[in-house]
Symmetry: C2
Subunit: 394 residues, 2 copies
């Protein structure tokens, strides 16, 4: 939800769809800039505001939008009712700022729908067991929409974003990238966690848990977007659905440690204890018989992880610690990989032809990720897009 114009545009679309006979629950986020305005106010008063009160403050952002959208719908002759997270009992745990939805009492929403009303719900917020206001953190409004759709067993949950669907690759990098009509849930989950910014991982996970049919559309343009489906047995599964890249990681290495069992645990344990997530991990033994361990972390955690690693290096009498912030992770994702061999070799061949050196490799059942120098990111994505013929209609 951006401006007044945006609210009016949404009201136009909702009232039209409602006249078509659909029962609709609309989940909205705050108007653009509102969260920043409120956060600024808070920091003027207290540089470290209590998390509980921060949630009370931020929750007003969506409350303003639900009221305004309901007014805009009323203006169009469409009977609408707004509800805060607390009013429709979106019950969460008590982790302020990044609460998780536990359940939703949909009785009230069902009553309104039965009465022919459009229901407008504040996204991003809920209440804990003690009726304290909580917020869900990043992507929270998407998660509310998915949770609401799950509770109501909705035919479809439509997520309106600033892109018109999921693409085979970032269209800013690959002009030939195509919008996918469909993508499997597992592929979407991989893409979300691999750095595609269309949907937050948590909302996709939630959709998967309750098998909510999810559709990603544009708020601005008409179109059918991309449907995230749960059908495993499509007639013909594409080998690869998309290419993702992530420039938000950094690489750390500890070199020249005695090759003994338990190295990975001794090196990575302290990192994990500091709540730093480790992504790709590579362990090898050099010609001198000494072991090396390399891993990636989020770039924001790089400095802290390096400090921890240097302490470990002293304890383990390692030869040295290296770090590199200029890396990128490039991934190919596709459920077709399960039944087709040769994806990895086709990927490595394509990168090699472009003279791109692979620093690390990580695989799962339906994705292959490689870590490369970040200056090669766009080149690598475009080469792979071509190599897997993603620009061809199927």
């Amino acid at each position: 939800m951006g401006t007044i114009e945006r609210i009016n545009a949404v009201a136009d679309r909702v009232s039209e769809t409602h006249r078509g006979g659909d029962s609709l629950v609309i989940v909205v986020s705050a108007m653009s800039g509102e969260t920043n305005r409120l956060t600024d106010l808070a920091h003027q008063i207290n540089p470290k505001p209590p998390a509980r009160e921060m949630d009370v403050l931020l929750a007003t952002g969506e409350q303003v939008t639900i009221a305004l959208l309901s007014m805009a719908l009323a203006f169009r002759g469409c009977d609408a009712r707004s509800y805060t997270g607390g009013q429709v009992h979106i019950r969460t745990d008590a982790v302020y700022g990044k609460a998780r939805i536990l359940d939703i009492d949909d009785a009230r929403v069902r009553r309104d729908l039965a009465a022919g009303r459009v229901v407008v719900v504040a996204g991003f917020q809920g209440v804990d067991e003690g009726s304290n206001i909580t917020t869900l953190g990043r992507g929270g409004s998407d998660t509310t929409a998915v949770a609401m759709a799950a509770a109501l067993r909705a035919d479809e949950c439509r997520i309106y974003t600033d892109v018109d669907g999921v693409y085979t690759a970032d269209p800013r990098v690959v002009p030939e990238a195509r919008r996918l009509d469909r993508i499997t849930f597992e592929e979407m989950l991989e893409l979300a966690s691999l750095g595609s910014k269309v949907l937050q991982t948590r909302s996709v996970e939630f959709a998967g848990k309750y098998k909510v049919p999810l559709r990603v559309l544009s708020s601005f343009e008409p179109g059918t977007g991309t449907l995230i489906s749960y059908e495993e047995k499509a007639v013909e599964q594409p080998l690869i659905s998309g290419i993702a890249y992530d420039k938000d990681e950094a690489k750390l290495s500890i070199r020249g440690i005695p090759d003994e069992p338990g190295i990975a645990h001794r090196v990575l344990g302290p990192v994990s204890d500091a709540h730093i997530n480790v992504d790709v991990i590579l362990q090898n033994v050099g010609e001198d018989g000494m072991a090396n361990l390399t891993f990636t972390v989020h770039r924001n955690d790089y400095r802290l992880a390096r400090e921890i690693l240097e302490k470990t290096a002293v304890e383990m009498r390692a030869q040295r610690v290296d770090g590199d912030e200029n890396i990128a992770k490039i991934s190919v994702v596709g459920v077709g990989m399960r039944s087709h061999a040769g994806v990895a070799s086709r990927m490595f061949k394509s990168l090699s032809e472009e003279g791109i050196n692979i620093l690390m490799i990580a695989t799962s059942e339906i994705k292959i990720s490689v870590v490369v120098e970040d200056k090669y990111t766009e080149l690598a994505v475009r080469a792979l897009h071509r190599a897997f013929e993603l620009d061809q209609p199927r």
Copy 2:
């Protein structure tokens, strides 16, 4: 609650008082300008926004303030918890925009107070039986404070305003006006309804119903303000406590109607049916044996009341209808009137000495009101202030 500076000033005072050992519940209103900002947003979207959604929207104003004040208190090392009207179950009727408080569930507030916390409650708002958000209308935050004090049987309810107490007369009109240390509840109720803008009538009525000791203080300056007390037997009751004036009324007359029983009802019934409140009423019979009826209404209702009266005049074959918007009502208020005669004659003598003609008179047990031409307002108030020696310390 005005600005960030104002919130910080309130936090300073609250944390200081709390350190002194008092249990405190703070009721706050929206930051200044916020209600106008939200109302503007609503009207951009819908010129006649549904009342229910208007309340959802406006309630965010106080929610922002409770969060910010709690953050400001936390910054001062003072453990505080904020609550919306719904969270502390301020239950109201379902009249959106001017709901009335029915009851408050104080269990949660008591638990926090017992744990040594300061409780910060959003004024002006509640929820109806169906958990819909309601707002209380004008003076709503004062009423919330009084209701909360009543529920908790608080030692005192302090209302912080932009004046430092109740005065013997408006200090802008009478420079010698004195702040009253105490005033009885009945006097305060008369003053509130007679046009003194310090407290809204409804919050005073609510205080009286539950005998809540109420103190009016300034938000800006130190001082003990004015205590509204319920003690009827003070050692020496002052004859008159204060002079009030009200320029918001207008006068209407219907003249030359046959003098029969039931005139007042036939004339005023249709006015009352249009939800117009009638204040002072005067009925007399002229030398020609025909009756005249004169009454005052709020100036906003003048035009409509006059239309109604002209229709009635035709039906009753009255000679004519007169109207006058340039009037003022001047009142002297004091519980001492009950035991002392001569207040009325002293009042009339004083006005007569200034050459002020009295157009109408209305009395109650503890007040006398006169209607005069509005150009005499300041002269009359000053003359009466002197006549009753209100500038003398007692």
